[in-house]
Amino acid sequence: MGDKTSITFDDRTPRNFMIASLFWGIIGMTIGLLASSQLSWWQANGKFLEFITFGKLNTDGLDLITFGRLRPLHTNAVIFAFVGNMMFAGIYYSTQRLCKCRTASKLLSLLHFWGWQGIIVGAVLTLPIGLSQSKEYAELIWPLDVAVVLVWVIFAINFFWTLAKRNEKSLYVAIWFYIATIVTIAMLYIVNNLQIPTSLTHSYPIFGGLQDALVQWWYGHNAVAFFLTTPILGIMYYFLPKAANRPVYSYRLSIIHFWSLVFIYIWAGPHHLLNTALPQWLQMLGMLFSLMLWAPSWGGMLNGLLTLRGAWNLLRTDPVIKFFAAGITFYGMATFEGPLLSIRAVNQLSHYTDWGIGHVHSGALGWNGLMAAGMFYWMAPRLWATKLWSISWANMHFWISLVGILLYVGAMWTAGVMQGLMLGQINESGTGLTYEFVETLQAIQLPYILRGVGGLLYLTGFLMCAVNLWQTARSGKMTDVTIEVNLLKSGEKDNMKIGELIFHRAVVYTGVIIGLVSLWFFTPFTMAATILVAIVMVGIVVMFEFRWNSRSWANFHDNLLENYIPFTILVFVAVAIGGLIQIIPSVVVNRHVNVEGRLQELYTPLELAGRDIYVSEGCYNCHSQMIRTLVPDVMRYGRPGIPDDYSHLGESIYDFPFQWGSKRTGPDLAREGGEPIDEKKLVRVGKRDNLWHFNHFLNPRQTSPGSNMPAYPWFFEKKTDFKSLPKKIKVQRQLGVPYPTMTDHEIEQHAREQAMAIAGTVADSAFLPSRQDLSGPELRNYLSETQFTAVVAYLQKLGAYTEQDPDNQPHPLDPDKNLPAYELSTKN
């Protein structure tokens, strides 16, 4: 035992983060409520303002609050502002106590707190004005991305510095999860946000089409894993045994489920792209790893719920335990549902429907929200050295939340399954589809309203929580806890040599097996069979080794826990492998050959401008551009008489960023465009003509009765940004898009010429209510400058491609090419 000293914890930081979490949580949920009402009533996109201002604000829709812009604000607010701040509160509170030392730097803590709030304010200011990258949960523009990385690095330094100073030899399981969170989010966020700016507020990602899809969902899925799951598991491991006053159920379960969770989670990303143009081997990996993920996830749930053995009586009296027990149960439910939805056959029905929305909310409201509330109710009385103001308010919060979640999730299941079944229903003769898209949308209006009610109840619960905590804080005094600790002597911790780590048998065997399995993926039959035999043999050896040496392997892990740097390195290796094996073949090796016989036609400058507007408006929130390899998809969205008219990889290869989408509140747009009708290829007409689009953007319900799409009146007021096009095309060329050489002047001229040509197709027949003074050539000139023309140019280009020879190049790392019976389907 070393010297004793007394330490005062920095409890101000967790206090601040907790307040911020509640504040942003309530804002984020309110935005969600507004966005959900927009799906039921299109007037909620701005028309309602006309009513509440007694006609002073005359509008069919307000761009700032339109669904496509609000939904990213909602997801970013609840993920990064609500759960993010909650997670930081929990991490700062528990890490100090688990390390028996004060957080390393007061300055870094302050920078972290205010930097993070600054980023959130930045998001609130940029997303509603349409500054968005359109990558889900990574919509923030590049300057904010840079800020996120900086603040995250500040957080990481502060955290690891605290670990280095710790007076506790060994790292508790909560810390393992915090470490995994910090290193993995850094990796994911940086790679997914690699981009080249074209201006201060706009950029193109360096990945396009398939590569972008793969990287985005590697990020998107694992943001769920390492931002919404692992840190909260860490928080569970600290606060639950504290609140229940019971030992954790099983230390070895912690080890097994931690390592299997962080290793396997990363591989499951492609399950967001099942049955799409994503190469089949990646889909198979995504599905199979998701199924393997079920047990590791439930390991966390078991360790939580079984810790409550002997403390279940607290469920009656202690709201904290109530929230934790329900939160962990929802975690178990969501992580059972996840693998289920990852089965490709189930995903056919569920994907692109509200089932997905229901699934994430059972996680977000059930797991994250209830765990947050439990932690707040536990922490607040301690941070203000008082008692919780009202237990009955907390109980009421619990029950109202529970009813809200069940209503929400039940409504979304109903909506998702019903719409999925209707969309896939084929008429009796087996030759056509039974329902129009809009009919399926109208069928789920009641569940949409019930979902809103569920959300409102949940929000009410959190408002009660805020009142309760406010009153609690008022009744107490901000207090920083002081404790006595024994100082650790140097040399008592962090003394593992790097050789001890990498040459330990447990590490070597794991490496060999993962290496062999990866080889197995990429090798054709004979070789693959040999490798499989080798895997089984090594597996058997490992089993016996583990049986005989289990004690020494356990000691190795105990030793690892006393060395935070080797532990962190091992975590990083475990989380990096899945991404490397899945992404590298498609990004580096097969980059230019992933065309599957169809190569996308380049966007003209005006079409590119239109595409950027499509991206900035968040159209991807409701419209996919992906015809899946499923009969109802090809029948509904493919062209007549072409059996392989699903989306091929090459059709989106020049899309920076990709727009495959993840939800269809409206129909798919992959083949919305069509052939040119003039010699200069300036005007195209697809499924609908330009006049139809004109009327549709002014009032979607005129051309599509029953639609819930917002009106876009500002498309007829705002000007297309022609001036930025040369710079944008220059960046696209850097990204590998083979644009011909054009001077800046030529680019702008071409765009203006095309805009005039398109405007000319509608000007004679169109009626623009906001500019009734214009008609004929004047209207044509006016429209050619507006965003409407650019967006229509883009929409009419969707699906344009040229045929290519599918077998022209080798695919060095492509398991699908190894299929013994593999033949490209174009033979029909």
Partner: protein, 206 residues
């Protein structure tokens, strides 16, 4: 957590047998940990999923007994297309200009069915009075039949959409989609019958 009485548990670091309950020596901020062996059912789901992983990959990629997505979907859609052609041929074999005008267009239930489709879909472009007031489509009550004035021409136009060689509407280039994609040949005949019933004069010679 000194107030918890866990003294009945043996302290140690490593449980060796199932059912043995050991409370680990180390405590973290008062948090204690048991070292229970893992529940069998949990282990089996984990092992089962791993075995399933190897099995599925083996079936798909090592021996390739399962057809690829592209093979599967192309065959399935091709068979739908065949059914569609068969159904069309079936309807067409009994469908003549005279039958459309004198049997279908006079059968109230068929005309009603056609009207229902019109009100649901066609109305968006051709308008409630069929005069296409928004100029999105051709008028259906101006006695001009741009793509042929036989009843079967109208049937084919609805079924196949604006002919490929046509430039569509002037100047917007608007084209009608092939509603044969969405509706059965019988439904298209009903729709044709509905349109004929609104233009009796034009088709009185059949």
């Amino acid at each position: 957590m000194s107030d918890t009485d866990n003294t009945q548990y043996r302290r140690g670091d490593f449980a060796r047998a199932k059912g043995e309950v050991i409370l680990r020596e180390h405590e973290y901020d008062g948090i204690q940990e048991f070292d229970q062996k893992l529940p069998n059912w949990w282990l089996f789901t984990f092992y089962g999923a791993i075995v399933f992983f190897f099995g599925m990959w083996f079936l798909y990629y090592t021996i390739g007994v399962i057809p690829s997505d592209h093979e599967r979907i192309t065959t399935a859609v091709a068979s739908v297309n065949e059914k569609k052609s068969a159904a069309l041929a079936d309807t067409m074999s009994n469908l003549t200009d005279a039958a459309l005008v004198n049997e279908w267009a006079t059968d109230e239930s068929r005309v009603k069915a056609g009207e229902a489709i019109y009100l649901q879909v066609c109305i968006a472009c051709h308008g409630p009075n069929m005069d296409a007031p928004t100029k999105l489509a051709l008028s259906l009550v101006d006695h001009e039949w741009k793509y042929g004035n036989n009843p079967l021409d109208i049937f084919k136009l609805i079924n196949n959409g604006t002919p490929a060689e046509s430039k569509g509407m002037e100047p917007s280039g608007a084209r009608m989609m092939a509603f044969g994609q969405l509706y059965t040949p019988d439904q298209i005949a009903e729709l044709t019958a509905y349109i004929i019933s609104k233009n009796k004069e034009d088709f009185k010679d059949f």
